[in-house]
């Protein structure tokens, strides 16, 4: 439910902190009517590194390119359950595993992992090898190994040790096999056996889910003990572990991982943020690295150390500074190395993380700032509102041209740009937000003029005006969608999947509770970790990707969502998501569909009305059907598939169905109605029935 908050609707909602009344935080949490699916989630790169460090120790070099993470619904955490391992990716995992095994079992380190020494110093010692495999393998696979698994690996160690004449060389090979095991690379969840639709995760699955949620790493020995003792089935057992974990400083890792994921800071870590060195000579990878760290430090300090309200992140003047950052912020930094606390001046231009270099530089172009990108970030990431991609035929040259006297500032150029009604709708949502940040340039440095013209940073967010970037932060902090969006994003991060419709009552009650508690991090983490929604699962879902590479290890353990052990590729079963099961579609006239669904929900002020014609599509009046049936879509990805907006008798090749259900890839744009509630399953069925019946008039 990424689109819960209607963009247009909030414009008329009074800005305030809903649910802040006394006792609002103590309300009961609703149980989900429908639980989400179990998942098979590949470890993200951060999780892989953290897990290796926890088990094999700090200081091991992980040289190599780990299979890239995949962002889905705005989060890598969600995308992790949609990715597999390619052939090339497996080679990388194997190469890294060999290197890690060699480092971990080097003479100076092996005593940390090998609980025994080979008998007589020989190359083969089955008992010692078995001890090592049970100890390290149990940590890596997050479960005890079966006797068969141990025996097969003891055999590998014996054969390799004998061949190479070195006991530890045999263990290296075994450790390599463990590090490439699907049970290590993937978090494979299981549910308790039973017939209920919503089944409780097993104690072992809960341990893994809790650990990666609260610490972003593998379970520690105590959590594994609790898991094997079955203590994570009941409320008390879970609460004991959750409270223990929340007391640990390691929850900082999870907070950093969540916000780094939400704000796409992996682009910073991977060196993907670049600027024109001629225009922005101060921009370096070191600078943007510090900038990302600054934002995360502020978040950790505010949300954990100070137990602050999430919404205050957008107004706080507390920060941290390095000398590199001080150059661009133009502030003195006493500490010659590292970080020092810093407070932005009360009468300055900056407050809140929106005025940090990290977010400003991330949401700019290489050569200039971008009010549109910055506004889009606020709408989509901070307020959970959808903004569609621009039509493919927009001429951006006119926006980039600052040579015309009345187009010297971004505001002036955007005003000219959005004179086109097709552009005005979406830009009207984004630009007023971003224009408030225009006094902070493409890398976040302060400026008062652009091309010699004074920059006007005033604007409004959903009807509430502000005069500058700091004012935007204040208005944003009071926006009714800000806190709930945070709650929903964090829940999706916690579960590693999109929410499902049946979870809506739970999510609403969660929002209300967190509103009453002031959106504090530990409260939210604890509430989610102890909730039924976190601990229940409904079962498997269809795979969406082709796993081309058979899993190579003979020790692979089948699971509900795993590919078959014989290596047969699991083929895609659906290319786009399907709505929940509904009653058989019923044929309806187009007039009924138009008058009851399309015109009231799609032909709105900024969208598919005859005035604005967003995407060149009008969904009102007598010509609405002719704009749909047999007409090629303007979306290039849809057109490339040979779809029509509506293909008579063929809903599978009708782009309209994709748009109202929700595209599963960004190239297909956003789910419609844009920014509004999704069509009900009955409405979707009505449209599908009309198409199936021939899309008549």
């Amino acid at each position: 439910m990424f689109n819960r908050f209607a963009v247009l609707a909030v414009g008329v909602v009074a800005i305030g902190c809903a649910g802040d009344g006394p006792g609002a935080g103590s309300g009961p949490l609703a149980s989900p009517i429908e639980a989400g699916p179990v998942a098979m989630r590949r470890l993200t790169e951060t999780q892989y590194r953290a897990s290796v460090a926890d088990i094999l120790g700090d200081g091991l070099s992980i040289a190599g390119r780990i299979e890239p993470d995949n962002r889905r619904s705005g989060l890598l955490a969600v995308g992790s359950s949609y990715v597999s391992v390619t052939a090339a990716g497996f080679e990388q995992y194997e190469s890294i595993a060999r290197s890690l095994a060699e480092q971990a079992l080097a003479p100076e380190r092996r005593a940390d992992f090998v609980p025994c020494e080979p008998a007589d110093g020989g190359p083969v010692d089955a008992d010692c090898a078995a001890m090592f495999i049970r100890k390290v393998g149990g940590r890596l696979l997050r479960r005890p190994l079966t006797d068969a698994e141990v025996e097969s690996r003891v055999a590998i160690a014996a054969e390799a040790g004998a061949t190479l004449g070195d006991f530890y060389a045999g263990l290296e090979l075994v450790l390599t096999t463990l590090l490439v095991s699907p049970d290590f690379l993937f978090r494979i969840e299981d549910v308790e056996s039973g017939s209920s639709d919503a089944q409780r995760l097993t104690s072992r699955a809960m341990a893994t889910r809790l650990s990666y949620f609260l610490w972003n790493s593998t379970p520690d020995e105590e959590l594994q003990r609790a898991a094997e003792a079955g203590e994570l089935i009941d409320d008390e057992g879970v609460a004991t572990q959750v409270d223990r974990m929340l007391e640990s400083p390691r929850i900082e890792d999870s907070v950093r991982a969540f916000f780094g994921d939400l704000y796409s800071f992996e682009d910073i870590e991977q060196g993907l943020v670049s600027k024109d060195p001629t225009l922005f000579p101060a921009f370096t990878q070191d600078l943007i690295g510090d900038a990302g760290e600054q934002t995360l430090r502020v978040i950790v300090d505010h949300m954990l150390t100070s137990d602050g309200d999430y919404r205050d992140l957008f107004t706080t003047r507390q920060s941290f500074m390095t000398r590199k950052l001080g150059v661009v912020y133009r502030v003195p930094v006493a500490a010659t190395e590292g970080w020092e606390p810093f407070e932005f001046p009360a009468d300055g231009e900056r407050a809140g993380i929106l005025t940090h270099l990290s977010l400003l530089a991330l949401h700019s172009h290489p050569g200039r700032s971008s009010p549109t990108l910055r506004g889009k970030f606020v709408r989509e990431v901070l307020l959970c509102q959808d903004v569609p991609p621009p039509p493919g035929d927009i001429d951006f040259a006119s926006f980039s041209d600052a040579s015309t006297p009345n187009r010297r500032t971004a505001r002036q150029r955007l005003e000219a740009h959005v004179a086109n009604p097709a552009c005005a709708g979406c830009h009207g949502l984004m630009d007023p937000i971003g224009l408030a940040l225009e006094q902070l340039d493409g890398i976040g440095a302060l400026r008062t003029e652009e091309n010699g013209a004074t920059i006007d940073p005033t604007g409004e967010l959903d009807g509430v005006s502000y005069t500058d970037a700091r004012g935007l932060g204040v208005v944003l902090s009071r926006h009714p969608a800000l806190g709930p969006c945070f709650v929903r994003s964090f829940f999706r991060y916690a579960t590693g999947r999109d929410t499902v419709e049946g979870e809506e009552p739970f999510l609403v009650s969660l929002e209300q509770r967190m509103s009453g508690l002031g959106y504090r991090m530990r409260d939210l983490m604890r509430t989610i970790a102890l909730s039924d929604a976190f601990r229940l699962a409904s079962g498997t879902r269809d795979a969406e990707v082709v796993l081309e590479t058979p899993v190579p290890m003979d020790t692979f353990t089948p699971s509900p969502t795993a590919p078959p052990p014989d290596g047969t590729p699991r083929t895609a079963t659906a290319t786009r998501p399907r709505p929940p099961a509904t009653a058989t579609p019923q044929a309806a006239s187009f007039a009924q569909i138009r008058d009851e669904i399309l015109t009231p929900k799609c032909a709105t002020q900024f969208c598919h009305s005859s005035q604005t014609m967003s995407g060149g599509l009008v969904l009102e009046g007598a010509g609405a059907r002719d704009n749909l049936v047999g007409v090629a879509p303007t979306n290039p990805a849809a057109a490339e598939r040979g779809w029509s907006r509506v293909q008579a008798s063929d809903p599978d090749n009708s782009f309209l169905m994709v748009k109202i259900i929700g595209p599963n890839e960004s190239a297909l744009g956003s789910r419609m109605p844009l920014g509004g509630s999704a069509l009900s399953s009955e409405e979707v069925a009505l449209i599908e029935g009309w198409i199936t019946a021939g899309a008549g008039r």
């Binding site: 060195p277 001629t278 922005f280 000579p281 101060a282 921009f283 370096t284 507390q318 500074m321 000398r323 590199k324 001080g326 150059v327 661009v328 133009r330 502030v331 003195p332 930094v333 006493a334 500490a335 010659t336 190395e337 590292g338 970080w339 020092e340 606390p341 810093f342 407070e343 932005f344 001046p345 300055g348 302060l446």
Partner: protein, 337 residues
Amino acid sequence: MRRKYLNFVALLAVVTGPISCGGSGGGGAPTSAPSAQRSGYVLSSFRYVFPEHESDPCPGGFTLGAVERRLLGQEPIPDDCLDPEANADPEFKELLGPGTVDGVDLDSFSSFGEQCGENGFSDPEGNSGVDYQLWRSIGCVQGFQEGEISDIVVGGAVANGSMTILLELIGFEGDDDQDLQVQMFASQQSPPLGADGSILPFGTLSVHEDERYHSTVGSAQMRDGVIVAGPMDVRIRLNIQIVEGDISFRDAVVRVEPMPDGTIRGAIFGYQEIAEVYDTFGIQVGQAGAQALSYTCTGLWDSLKKNADGGFDPATGACNSISVAYQFEAIPAFVAR
């Protein structure tokens, strides 16, 4: 003229706030913007002042170093940089005749004892008595000319941390006829560099931990947009490749001209002991350096002694220092103590 300086000060006050800072380091209280009483700068260029001449000041040509002499088939001149008085270089060329130097008559500032000799330089307004005897000694050496090795190496040194120099204007408000103070510092830190290799403004740089590299505070006045401060003693630390040493200015005069874009340009004039000059260009750079810059150590030392014009030593009856002049440009920076 006055108006633009006021604009410059407004820029500093509003945009950059204070240009110098205190603070306790990483674990201390938050560093917040202090008041704008001190305007800090880091030098972005530092080079000799290059006089202008109406006639060729080196009529006998430039001094020949060992390499040039060999290439020209001339006999080498015996040269021992560690013992420059062991030999003589009768062919070492000195700069002759009058010239125009945008400098000052140090005698009006100096309390440096009886001076030696007379200068033949004049300032652009035609006032005579401008002191710059060092250029008499090195003005006809190829390696010290504008754009040559010395110029390039020193220019790089201010950017790469080999010779970081800081300057503060204390109490500067941008008004003509105001009294203020000037202080200079060496720094052990490298200025921040941009992706294009340029020094970035608004970096924070700490003053040298050794207070010998903090100049005395020079009283100054601003007239017609130009600040003149002094006399003040200034010691700059350099660590350039094989050369590690000081440039010490005795009774220095510092001239600073604030620019509308917030930068400054200026010059420093004063007396430097000839032993210190020779330590750099004789002892430390050695034969290799002398060959690269095209002179002999023995010729240079002899010339320095001959042209020394400050620090009269009654015991020896000679001056032990020589007047020097350097020009510089600087950009805003935060000076941390």
